[in-house]
């Protein structure tokens, strides 16, 4: 038997990213948001009055939480055929909530 090499998708090449699907993007964005949140929370604790950091914190929390809700809905039995629509819905809802909170006059 020929024991040839096993090819893997190479994430450092353009070819490796071709054909990346919505479910994969949802997973990557949620994990990316989690990692980014660690840094943004640290910056926010250092100085809570920086507007840019506040905006980043809100955006990342919304992104991470809403994509988490998407994963929960699938875990609890919503058909996987909805997973693309759920990604779109989570992003749209995130933008809407961000816009509503950010444009609200708090003071």
């Amino acid at each position: 038997m020929i024991n040839g090499p096993v090819l893997r998708r190479e994430w450092t090449t353009r070819e490796g990213w071709r054909g990346t699907r919505p479910g994969m993007w949802a997973w990557l964005v949620q994990r990316g948001a989690a990692v980014a949140l660690l840094g943004v929370i640290a910056l926010h604790l250092y100085n809570p009055f920086v507007r840019g950091v506040q905006a980043a914190l809100l955006a990342l929390v919304l992104l991470h939480a809403l994509l988490g809700v998407r994963a929960l809905l699938l875990d609890f039995g919503l058909s996987v055929r909805w997973h693309r629509a759920l990604l779109g819905g989570a992003l749209a809802l995130g933008v809407a909530i961000f816009a509503a909170v950010w444009s609200w006059r708090w003071y």
Binding site: N3, P5, V6, R8, R18, G23, W27, A71, D75, V80
Partner: protein, 240 residues
């Protein structure tokens, strides 16, 4: 004059390095990737190796990665030439030559998940499973798997965990767990409820996206996972 279409084809043979070789073919109406590969092999390069059988999208033998996505070569039309079309073998399988991969690990993954029917002991009796019954309907899509290996190629978790049985094996396990004739359900439930099986799936649904039979292994895995959680509270039960 019709523009030539460029196919960038992955090449490898024992004793030679991996490389990409470009071929020019003249596309015709209804020209598929498989048609192009056959034409290249017959007229340009007889050393090019690839696998196919039915040519009509039934057997799954011609599964390969075309433009970064797992597809059946015989069902992938080559449209208007734009950039070169990349053709690579399936990921996560050992290469035999060029676009031909060794499917042995596919069977090994099925065995690892206990994804084989276990007959009951004692006298054989006819099983009464009506086609429109709940037991049959629950697995209606899952039993259509033809073992082409595209889901295993698309799954990122297969690359990260050698012990992960992968989407096809867990989809088969799902069908068997719903089969009242099967005597191996308790053992299989314990086998797949491990960190390296059901818990390893991250619900990326890459397998679902590429399955040419429109099966959702993700759906099967999530159903098995819900059943495993249920078993923790109420003890093992009969069907997913």
């Amino acid at each position: 004059m019709e523009l030539a279409l460029v196919l960038s084809v992955f090449r490898w043979a024992p004793g030679s390095p991996e490389r990409v070789q470009s071929y020019e073919v003249a596309p015709r109406e209804g020209f598929t990737v498989l048609d192009a590969l056959v034409e290249i092999q017959r007229r340009v390069d007889p050393t090019l190796a690839f696998r196919y059988a039915c040519r009509v999208g039934m057997c799954g033998s011609c599964a390969m990665v075309v433009d970064g996505r797992e597809r059946w070569a015989c069902r992938t039309l080559l449209g208007t030439p734009r950039a070169a079309v990349t053709v690579r073998p399936l990921y996560h399988f050992p290469l035999i030559r060029d676009l031909v991969v060794d499917m042995t690990p596919f069977a090994a993954r099925l065995r690892a998940a206990g994804a084989a029917f276990v007959p009951r002991e004692g006298p054989l009796e006819f099983a009464r499973v009506p086609g429109d019954g709940a037991e049959r309907q629950a697995i209606d899509a899952a039993v259509e798997c033809i073992g082409c290996g595209m889901c295993v190629s698309a799954c990122t978790m297969v690359a990260h965990d050698a012990r992960f049985p992968g989407p096809a094996a867990l989809n088969r396990a799902f069908a068997l767990q719903a089969d009242s004739r099967d005597a191996g359900r308790a053992a299989r439930a314990a086998l797949i409820a491990s960190e390296d099986a059901l818990l390893r799936c991250h619900t990326q649904a890459n397998c679902t996206e590429v399955c040419p039979m429109e099966i959702s292994p993700t759906q099967s895995i999530l159903a098995l996972r819900r059943r495993a959680v249920g078993d923790l509270f109420r003890g093992p039960s009969r069907a997913p």
